[in-house]
C-alpha cells in the first residue's frame, strides 16, 4: 500500500501563481474526488503531481511513500507508481498503441529484460475487450484520429496495463457518452484494490455515480476549501457551488483567467500574423 502526501503546495505557470497551498493525502485502497468549477486549479494540481514541464513548484512538498516526488523526472515518477490519465492526451503519429504500451511496461523492468510477448498480447486483448474498444486499437497510432471518448478509454486502458500505485484521472468523464462512461466506470471500479489509490478530478458529479469516492474535496482559488464525504456531492448536485462560496467567503473562484486567443481575420496569412510581419 502506497501513500501520496501533498503538503502546502504552491505552483505557478508563466509567473502566475495557480496553486495556493494544497494539502492532500491519498493511500492505497482509497478513492478521492476533487470537484470544483472551471479554472480553480484542479487540472494544474494533476499536472504538477506528474511533473509537467510548464509548471514550477514554488513551495511545499509531494512525497510518495516518503520519497520526494518533486526531485524526480516525469518518467521516474511514473516508474515510482504514479499515473495520470490526461484530459488532453497527445497524439503521436507513427507509434502504435501496442508498441507504446509495451515500451512503457518494459521501462519498468530491469535493463535488458522485456515483457513476455504472448502474455502481453493476451493482457492487452483482454483490456481492449473489457473497455469495449475496437480490436484494431493496438495497431492504431497512439491517439491519432481518436475521438474524445476513444482517447479517454485509451487512458484507462494504459492504466489497466501499467497497474500504478496512485492513479489520477483528470476529467476522464469529459467527452464520454453515457454508455462509455458506464464502461469506464465499471473498469475503474474493478481495478480498485488495497494497492491502488485513486484521485478523480471532475466537475460533474455524474462520474461519481459510477465510481464511488470515499472522500470528496472541493477546490477553489487554487486550494482545497472543503473536504467531506459523498454528502457534499449530493448538495452540489442540487444547489451548485454557491453555498460553499458563501461558507468560505469567496466571490470569484477562479485562479486561471481564460486565455484571450489572438484572432486572425479570414484572408490573412496566419503565419505572417503570428510572426508579426
Amino acid at each position: 500500500m502506497s501513500t501520496l502526501i501533498i503538503k502546502n503546495l504552491y505552483a505557478e505557470v508563466d509567473g502566475k501563481e495557480i496553486l495556493k497551498g494544497v494539502d492532500l493525502e491519498i493511500s492505497g485502497g482509497q478513492t478521492h474526488a476533487i470537484m470544483g468549477p472551471n479554472g480553480t486549479g484542479k487540472s494544474t494540481l494533476a499536472s504538477v503531481i506528474m511533473g509537467h514541464p510548464r509548471y514550477t513548484v514554488t513551495k511545499g512538498t509531494i512525497t510518495l511513500d516518503g520519497e520526494d516526488v518533486l526531485e524526480m523526472e516525469v518518467d521516474e515518477r511514473a516508474r515510482a507508481g504514479l499515473f495520470l490519465g490526461m484530459q488532453h492526451p497527445a497524439e503521436v503519429p507513427g507509434v502504435t498503441n501496442s508498441d507504446f504500451i509495451k515500451t512503457a511496461m518494459n521501462s519498468r523492468l530491469e535493463e535488458g529484460k522485456s515483457v513476455n510477448l504472448f502474455k502481453f498480447i493476451r493482457q492487452l486483448d483482454k483490456a481492449v475487450e473489457d473497455l469495449r474498444m475496437n480490436d484494431d486499437l493496438p495497431h492504431r497510432y497512439l491517439n491519432e484520429g481518436f475521438s474524445g471518448g476513444e482517447k479517454k478509454r485509451n487512458e484507462v486502458l494504459q492504466m489497466k496495463m501499467l497497474s500504478p500505485k496512485i492513479a489520477i484521472l483528470d476529467e476522464i468523464d469529459s467527452g464520454l457518452d453515457i454508455d462509455a462512461l458506464k464502461v469506464v466506470g465499471e473498469n475503474v471500479t474493478n481495478m480498485k484494490s488495497e494497492d491502488l489509490g485513486l484521485l478523480l478530478i471532475t466537475h460533474y458529479q455524474r462520474l461519481l455515480d459510477y465510481i464511488s469516492a470515499d472522500k470528496v474535496h472541493v477546490m477553489m482559488k487554487g486550494r482545497i476549501v472543503k473536504s467531506g464525504g459523498m454528502e457534499i456531492i449530493k448538495r452540489i448536485d442540487s444547489e451548485g457551488y454557491d453555498w460553499i462560496k458563501q461558507e468560505v467567503g469567496i466571490d470569484d473562484v477562479r485562479v486561471i483567467e481564460e486565455e484571450e486567443e489572438a484572432r486572425v481575420m479570414l484572408g490573412q496569412c496566419a503565419t505572417r500574423e503570428a510572426l508579426d510581419l
Partner: protein, 365 residues
Amino acid sequence: MKDYVEKPLADTSVPEPIVKLISKDLTNYLVIKDGHIVASDLSASFDAIFVGTYGDALPDKLNVFFDSEFVNEHPDHDEAYHYNLDHVNSGLLIHVPRNVAIAERLHVFYLQSEHELVQNVRIVLEPGSEFKYFEYFYNETAADINIVSNSVVRENAKLSYTGISAFNKDARVDVRRNSFVFRYGRSEYDLAEVNDGNIVAKTNIFLQEKYAAGTSKTVAISSEQQEVSFRQMIEHNAPETEGYIENYGVSNHASHLYFEGVGKINKNMKRSVARQSNRGIVLGKDARLDANPLLLIDEYDVEAGHGAAIGKIDEEQLYYLMSRGLSLRAAERLIISGFLSPVMSMLSTDTLRDDFMHKVEAKTS
C-alpha cells in the same frame, strides 16, 4: 551509353556488415560489388523476368533498355548524368515482361569497394506487370559515386521502389532516380537517406500519359557537419495524372538538411493533382532544416497543394510518453521512429528494420 567497361575485381567476398543484413528470412537478393554479382539467391518466380548485369545482357536484351527516348536524352539530364552514361562500370538491368506480376521483392545490395563507382540501373516494366524492388547502397573506401537509376513503367504496370543509402562519410555521392510512367501506371518510391556521405540526391517522376500516378516519399537524417540536399520532382506531362511528394527529415548537431519538392504541371494537363507535404524535426542546437516546396503550374484546372511543418520534438508528446515511464531517450526514440515510419514500414525484414533504426539512433543521439 558509349561503352561499358567492367573493371576486374580482386576480392569477391561480401563484407561483414552486408552479410549481417542477409538474414535467413531475407529472400531474393543479389549482392553486386563494383559491378560484379558476388552473391545471389533468387526464387523460381524470378525466372519469368530478366535480371542481369550489363555483361549478361549484351547484346540481345540491350535494345529493350537502350531504345528508350527518355533515359538517354532528356531535358533534365545534366553533366553528372552524362558522365554516368560515358563511364558506367556497374549496374543492373531488370526487364519484367507483359502481364508478369512478381509478388516477392527483389533486394539488391550495391557495394563500392575498389574504385570509383559509376552505376546505372534500368528497370523496364512492360504493360500490366508488377514489380517490387529494394536497393541498399554501401561503400567501403573513399570514393566518388555516381548513381543513375531509370525505370520505365508502361501501361497499367506497377512499380514499388524502396531504398536505403548507407554511405560512410568518405563518400561523395550523386544519385539520380528517374521514373517514366505511362497510362494507368503507378510508380512508388520510398527512400531512406540515413547516411554520413556528402550526398545530393534527386528523384524525378515523369507522368507521361493520362491517369499515370507517382508517389515519392523520402526520409532523411543529417548529423554532425553534414550538408545534404534532396530534391523530388514530379512532372505532369499528361492530363489527369496524380503526383504525391512526402518528405520527412531530421537534422541533428550542426548539420544542414535541404528538401526541395517540385510539383510541375505543364500547360493543358488538366485535372491533374499535385500534392506535397514536408515534415521536419530539428534536433541539434545549430542544425538547420529547409523545406522548399515548389508548385510550378501552367494550367488552371488542377488540384495542387503543399504543407510544411518543421520544429523541435513536440514537448507535449515527450511529456505524455515520459508520464508512462519512458526515459527521455526512449521517448525521443519512439517519436522519431514513428515520424520515420512511412518508409520504415516498407522494409522487408526485422534485420533491415533494425539496421535502419540503428542508423537512425546513431545519427540522432
